[in-house]
Amino acid sequence: MDNFELVILLLDATLRTSTPLILAALAGMFSERSGTINLALEGMMLGGAFSAAAVAYYVGNPWAGLLAAIATTICLSLLHGFACITHKGNQVVSGMAINILMSGLTALVGIALFAQGGKTPSLDHESRFQPITLPGADAVADVPVLGSIYSELLSGHNILVYVAFLAVPAAWWVMYRTRFGLRLRAVGENPGAVDTAGIGVVAMRYRAVICSGVLVGMSGAYLSTAQGASFLQDMTAGKGYIALAAMVFGKWRPFPALFACLLFGFLDAAATRMQGVILPGIGEVPVQLVQALPYVLTVILLAGFIGRAIPPKSLGRPYVKER
């Protein structure tokens, strides 16, 4: 195989691995920009993945699965909101609680429903999101370079991949070009000022966590009904935390977060292909190093060595109306 083809394959895999990260990172951004820390991405993703696979199996339609996933994650978001916004509980603790809860609950319910050791039954062709061939992809496949980029790299993904990439400009537009977005960001920076302007801080923050729920639900559904064909116990395997890292790495902004997701997705895709590969001048790169790289890079960024990542000012602080 020539190098060009190899690069195309690697980038193709990158698009697939970064899709759930993009959706979850945007989800985290909506929540955190409004002042609510969302460590629960991992658990919500897992819950979404389970609901999607289970409902898609019973109904035989991936869209029903997607709706179920979104409904599940919205419920979990509301739970997170209920603890953090209404009862002013600790946001870190609430997030960890949801992660642990979902890790157990998905397996428990999975065993109770399907008795396959926590796995859901494999989905057939009709119950999964199928690859979409973009118009004209077959016709231009023989055109050198551009043709294969279009037909192999851009075409042939399932709908959720395209949704994830379109969600980035959409999130940017909502965040920076609408009144809702302005209020959402304001509530995360200076809730007192927003309250003075006569806008309810609590309602605003709830809306933000609901947005977060919708997005992370899609990323969960992607894992079990688009990329995979069933739910597996703990199938998110830290993706929620990687998405969180990508969001921090992207400094809580949509487009930088997208690039962080692509970078982390690329590292993930590369890690599986790097096994035993000897790089000139460096020697064999340990796979574990490539796997740890997203986390290492995020720590270095947080330490302020690559620019400065400044979180929203009121992140993690419950709003107390009067003293």
Partner: protein, 372 residues
Amino acid sequence: MSDSVQLPRWIDVGALPLLNLLLALVVSGLVVLAIGERPTQVVEILLYGAFGYEEAWGYTLYYTTNFIFTGLAFAVAFHCGLFNIGAEGQAYVGGLGVILAALYLDFLPFPIMLIVAILASAIFGAAWAYIPAYLQARRGSHVVITTIMFNFIASSLMVYLLVNVLRPQGSMTPESEQIAEHLRLPFIHDIAAGLGLEMASSPLNLSFVYALVCSVLVWLFIWHTRWGYAIRTVGANAVAATYAGIEPGRYIIMAMMISGALSAFMALNEVMGVQHRLLIDFTAGYGFVGIAVALMGRNHPFGIFLAALLFGMLYQGGAELSFEIPTISNDMVVVIQGLVILFTGAMEHMFRPRVTRIYTAWHLRRRAQEAA
């Protein structure tokens, strides 16, 4: 209501957490009902599995040992206002310290090895906690995110070391060599046999005693030393601490390093006491349970001991459960754990306003009666 009365201590540290715990258990019961089993039967099996026979006690206390260490670790950092989510990684790296000492210094006699192993685990765990602590104290990066990242980095690092360095030649499984027989922590049943007592064999070992010692030491440290005072001051109000001449950064680093060392002591129990070698993921989520344990125990060593015992019971009873009822796996315990963290940690304030209102009304009525 501005004229509400201060809640008495027994409600604040006793009744409220119990109320939250009760709610968590009720919801767990509903989960059991929802998957079609009887909660009473589950409770029965849980209790029998945890305390019903002599061997079970040993297992329960063996799990308790881990949870005391990780619970204390979370609590010490918490007193300084820090969330150390990194106990998992710190314990993992601490295990490296224990195994290196036990494998490469195997000429040492046991009493000296015991001290060396304690120091090695403490140093490795504290070092792993030092980096996030330094970044928090000096560069302002949030310790929650960095400790999460360090859990994953520790996991990759340890897999690399186990596969490439610690694995004995010719072995396919990524685990270290066995610790020499005379350097292992003695099991409690062996100690008892030496004293002429007969006990059922279980993984419970000497580290349980060390966990109790650490509980007392942590209590002394937090409430009866200058450093403990400084740590609590920083945790309560870092700005006020600065005005009082306490430099927050210094105590943030100190609290995190002690926290890391305490997490790492878990490796004494697992690596030196039970497994006798370093296994992949030997920490098995005990670090995260520490969060629940500390929150439930109100970050006080005595409370932590009680909460650790509860979780030890749940873990051991949960193992029994999965034998008895096929539809209920160990995951039930994970669910209970999540619910306990949710209700006693995140929603701890849920009942407070209502309880305060009821107590205030009762208090005022009693005062009126006394006046009359």
